[in-house]
Amino acid sequence: MNIKLWGVRGSIPVSDPDTRQYGGHTSCVVVSQDGHFLVLDGGSGMQKLNFGQELTGKRVDILLTHFHLDHLQGLGFFKSLFNPSMEVHIWGPASSTHSLHARLSRYLSPPLFPVLIRDLPCQLHLHEIANSEFEIGPFRIRSRYVIHPGPTVGFRISNGNGAFAYIPDHEPALGLAGILDDPHWISGYDLAAGADLLYHDAQYTDEEYRYKQGWGHSGLSDTMKFATLSGVKKLLLAHHDPGRTDVQIQDLLTELLLTGQYDFPFEMAGEGMEYKIGT
């Protein structure tokens, strides 16, 4: 499977000369294989996507981790939604009170957005997921609720000979004890265990996290600990804080490389980066 990062910024898009290297668009990652496309999250990076010849069929699947605006704000600008010949499937976490349709409508309706869901010209299908397993084309997908405010899932996408774990918003260290060493007690472990590539929240420095506990994101050390305990083969640190410049992101990476001993490679996620897993 091929993986391309279209947006890696956390919380709000930024556009400054000093954020150009890693990029300013919010969460959007495309996983593809044999003409099948999965779009993970609808952050502002989604606005750049345009599927044409490369699609085998007329179907595209959007997998939403949750409904915070930085994961949704690009959805209304996704070109396939306005193409009557396209079949668009949106998968999102169930809540115990409101339907997926009702929660999507909060954003895709006036006054926040001019077009109503029911007026979208594409053939739209909505799927509520929880701790679920499902298949799309060549992909087997597992979703699990993870620790983050509001109903939020992470995804594990496998194609039979490789696995990609996507957990962009995650605070596994929430609580006095932080991340516990026992896999039974680690949020998101089932998604990340042994994955070939883990894309994970690393919004804060450890110092910043001390003041932002409960906000739903991870400090760098906790991300490294989560990846270590999960036994991943490679880690991408993502959901960069909107206030972080390219130089600061590079410095944080250098510090991690110099101060820690890790038995897996890791790097900072950057817009436009591409990876290949399995076949």
């Binding site: 976490p93 169930a94 809540s95 115990s96 929880a130 701790n131 609720y145 993870v146 620790i147 109903p151 929430l174 609580g175 006095l176 004890a177 896999p183 039974h184 007690w185 680690i186 949020s187 998101g188 472990y189 089932d190 265990a193």
Partner: protein
């Protein structure tokens, strides 16, 4: 190795930050976590005992009613919660490890996650000083 549901993981993190004794079980009644204040009641440390089946932890308490008649495990709030998926509350007496009788009030409730599935039970013990 599958991890517990996040509502169970978060319950443990909450229990860890409380000063009253808290017990957490899975749906089968296995005691999967108890906090430090609860260690005093059980006379065991969680790190040492690990997960305990109901047959084991149910015997550690010696619960009695106000007439000192023994209570069966089926009368304990947490056991009832697990059987009926319903909250319970009861005041009774337990014999402490030092042989003293202690009046306690127990509140238990089922843990039901976002997807509506029952994933375990919690019991909170109050040492009742008003004898």
């Amino acid at each position: 190795m599958p991890s517990y549901e996040i509502e169970i993981i978060l319950s443990r993190q909450l229990a860890d930050s409380l000063s009253m004794p808290v017990f957490i079980t899975d749906t089968e009644g296995n005691l999967i976590y108890y906090n430090e204040p609860a260690e005093e009641i059980l006379g065991k440390r969680f790190e040492e005992s690990g997960v305990m089946p109901v047959e084991e932890w149910g015997k550690i308490f010696k619960p009695v009613d106000e007439f000192k008649n023994p209570l069966s495990p089926e009368d304990l709030p947490l056991v009832k919660t697990l059987r009926n998926v319903y909250p319970y509350h009861k005041t009774f007496w337990i014999e402490s490890l030092q042989g003293k009788t202690q009046k306690i009030s127990v509140t238990s409730f089922p843990i039901i996650g976002r997807s509506g599935n029952f994933s375990g039970g919690i019991a909170i013990f109050w040492k009742d000083e008003r004898l």
